[in-house]
Symmetry: C2
Subunit: 184 residues, 2 copies
DNA sequence: CAGTTTAGTAAGTGATTACTCACTTTTAGT
DNA sequence: ACTAAAAGTGAGTAATCACTTACTAAACTG
């Protein structure tokens, strides 16, 4: 990976997240990255190839996060870490994940990177088990609920990323998953 | 509203939801609606004007739904109706709401139709009150949680709209909000 | 029914865009 | 140092797209 190739990737990521894939011309990417437009196509063949390269990075990063959650010993700690996942993702690489989430809705990319890929299925399995260990009556459905929750949380974070809001919301959500509570 | 004007709106809605705003050429809209391309601009001035007309419909429909929730007497019924909201929206006008949700992420339209408009703020207020009446300790935060939940539910519905899935998920979610339960 | 506004069309047009191509420069292996 | 491959450039180019214009047909209105 040469310096300029990486610069193209970073710039494209930033611009795609900001203005969207279709509305960001390759000419602008080249200009802001300070390279010739032709170089983009030398390295990535297509505009779509550029997108794919960005998406590939996403798989890696997400896999890393899931791995660290799976590695936790306590079932409750796993659940709390899952709740914290979107916050971690956004604080790390805001633009990156913004792009990821916006892609879900586009037909072109549905089924490609967002659809249940390996790490997602693994996380679901592990969290199901965690709920089971904690004595929840319907662990599969609890996981689904948790997934919906962190999906919705991601939406909220996008619109209101203030520190105070995040902290309050997280601790409230975590308080919903505690030992010694009613498990229906 | 002439017949052809309505046909343009419907076709544009369908295509925007399916392929996105930027990737749907006005020529295709005209072709599939069976009208000349020029007519689109006669009626809506812009491609954006076409989008705005679609968005205006959204306000109306959503306002109607919120109104029917607000009208309910029992606080628990209000909460359950809110949980059912995304399912109702999708069953009614799937393409329409798909488009709405995808728009949230686009900079251009953020703040226009999706941002806390009247009906949203009213719903939040009413549901906060419902939680208060039911004796929840932190009604404001409960509303936020519920908002995140129905956001996440919308995501799920988009990907898995099977009848069985919807029914199971809904009744599970509703079971989380019941009288005579622990209210932390 | 005359006259005026509104609905509708078909054929452009200029700007933009993704991508190519012929070419030069840099890098790396022997 | 020689050379072949890889990195990089910049000026095209064909296609596409949103929008215009000059025009006709239909619908109101007094």
């Amino acid at each position: 990976m040469t310096e300029k190739k990486e610069l193209i990737l970073e710039t494209a990521l930033k611009l795609f997240a900001e203005h969207g894939f279709d509305t960001t011309p390759t000419s602008q990417i080249a200009k802001e990255a300070g390279v010739s437009e032709g170089l983009i196509f030398r390295h990535f063949t297509n505009k779509e190839g550029l997108m794919d390269a960005i998406l590939a990075m996403s798989e890696e990063r997400m896999a890393r996060h899931v791995k660290s959650i799976v590695a936790l010993a306590e079932p409750l700690a796993k659940i709390h870490a899952t709740i914290e996942l979107p916050v971690k993702l956004f604080s790390e690489e805001r633009e990156f994940w913004k792009l990821q989430f916006s892609l879900k809705w586009q037909k072109k990319y549905r089924g490609q990177s967002y659809r249940p890929s390996g790490y997602y299925l693994e996380l679901v399995e592990v969290i199901t088990d965690a709920f089971r260990q904690l004595g929840y009556a319907q662990p599969e459905k609890e996981v689904l609920l948790l997934v919906m929750l962190i999906d919705g949380l991601s939406n909220q974070l996008m619109q209101q990323p203030s520190e105070a809001f995040i902290e309050q919301t997280l601790s409230f959500l975590k308080s919903k998953y505690q030992q010694n509570k009613l498990k229906s």
